[in-house]
Symmetry: C2
Subunit: 244 residues, 2 copies
DNA sequence: ACCTGAACACCGTTCAAGT
DNA sequence: ACCTGAACACCGTTCAAGT
């Protein structure tokens, strides 16, 4: 046992990569780095070359673990949605009724969206694998959970599917808009923000001008809650209807 | 419908500018060509160089009329929304009550979305100029129309603004999902579609499998109508409430 | 086994130069 | 006045070659 190997062991114990033999890349680490990069620098700035650099590696190395940039973005979307596996507030099946079940699911998705405002539009806009895999619930796992849960709770097949449609378009509309105000796409990074955001001239738009105060208030959380309640009320009616 | 090699001859036959003195480019023509390109080839394939080529010109010429690619995409979004100026079914102010007014507006936006399924996601995902310019109603003109119309029909300022929020997130959720099934983003063009779309294995997802029939049915139009009715009912309640 | 250098085809954009 | 050639910096991706 040489001094060299002991040093390496110490690094390993500390969880750091040994300097002599760098810890190899892996898919998971690449995907996480991609999400980090999008969160901080925005999607348009995510480049294979820059992503490689942030991992201390040349861009070409990434292709050993990821087929290409498009597939990487798909993987990012999957990863974000699968984040909800680790969310103890999101259940895999109803425990206190389907309303509670859907409420937990909705808030779980919202938490992901708010945690990654710059990445969430990807979840909304990537072309789905199947036409019925509707964003933002675009994982077979969660769709299965949704349908199984509602079936168990007395929804007919048609009602469960209709509920799935309503639920997804509710989530997509609300969260995309909520997130787009919090931190948008950020195309080319805008510099020299001298404090004044330079709003458009409102002279020709008197109502917009008069209501600009109300328009700027942020009631996103309350609106989400309220619309969700309304949706659940509608689904309740659906549940009671006979199959068509 | 455009055969590039024939363009010059076609122009002559149509009595358009003679080939010797080519008609100069203009912003409008560039934007239209961009929309055409996106409609037929998808957004990712829209390139300054290709767009130039489709107009019989080198890419650099475009910069005389458009500051850059990002601004061009903004202009495309504007153009699409302004399309509704020419839609006689969309009114600039209420004539048969606010419900009819909003219904016409909603259907107008839906018509634009369905006419340009590959471009509509742009309307949804471009960062808005102001946080209260919510997609897909992202033009001051239409927001002013919306608020003025509802004011005239007895909505308080707060109620009109709340209605605006509900209306936009309804439109965004529904139309984005409807459009995404009709013709999605189309990242890298997929070739060799040998007929089988290769659906994911559903063995582990029994409910998805059992309901795959119902999941594949397209009730988009009916759902849009129904959700819109429900939204209008909610807005009706809003209209009757006192200002908070 | 894992990473890289060099190369290819393609981007957006600028600018001096052509007509 | 309008367009282009040439150039720059930067992409994604491949592959033979290095260690």
């Amino acid at each position: 046992m040489t001094d060299e190997t002991m040093d390496a062991d110490a690094d390993v114990v500390a969880g750091n990569p040994p300097p002599s033999a760098r810890v190899p890349l892996d898919r998971e680490r690449i995907i996480r780095a991609a999400i980090d990069h999008i969160d901080t620098a925005g999607l348009p700035s995510l480049t294979m070359r820059r992503l490689g650099a942030s991992l201390g590696v040349e861009a070409m190395s990434l292709y050993r673990y990821v087929p290409g940039r498009e597939d990487l973005l798909d993987a990012v979307v999957n990863h974000l949605i699968n984040t909800m596996y680790d969310d103890d507030d999101v259940l895999d099946m109803p425990q206190d009724g389907w309303q509670d079940f859907l409420q937990r699911l909705a808030h779980g998705v919202r938490r992901v969206a708010l945690a990654h405002p710059k990445a969430f539009p990807l979840v909304a806009s990537r072309p789905p694998e199947a036409p019925w895999l509707r964003p933002p619930l675009r994982s077979l796992h969660w769709v299965e959970s949704f349908l199984a849960g509602l079936s168990r709770e007395g929804f007919s097949d048609d009602a469960a599917v209709a509920a799935y449609r309503g639920f997804t378009s509710f989530l997509l509309g609300h969260l995309l808009l909520e997130v787009s105000t919090h931190g948008a796409d950020v195309g080319p990074l805008d510099v020299l923000d001298d404090g004044s955001q330079e709003p458009p001239k409102l002279d020709a738009y008197p109502h917009v001008a008069k209501m600009s105060g109300a328009l700027s208030e942020d009631h996103a959380a309350a609106e989400f809650e309220e619309s969700l309640e309304n949706l659940l009320d509608r689904l309740q009616l659906l549940r009671l209807e006979a199959d068509s």
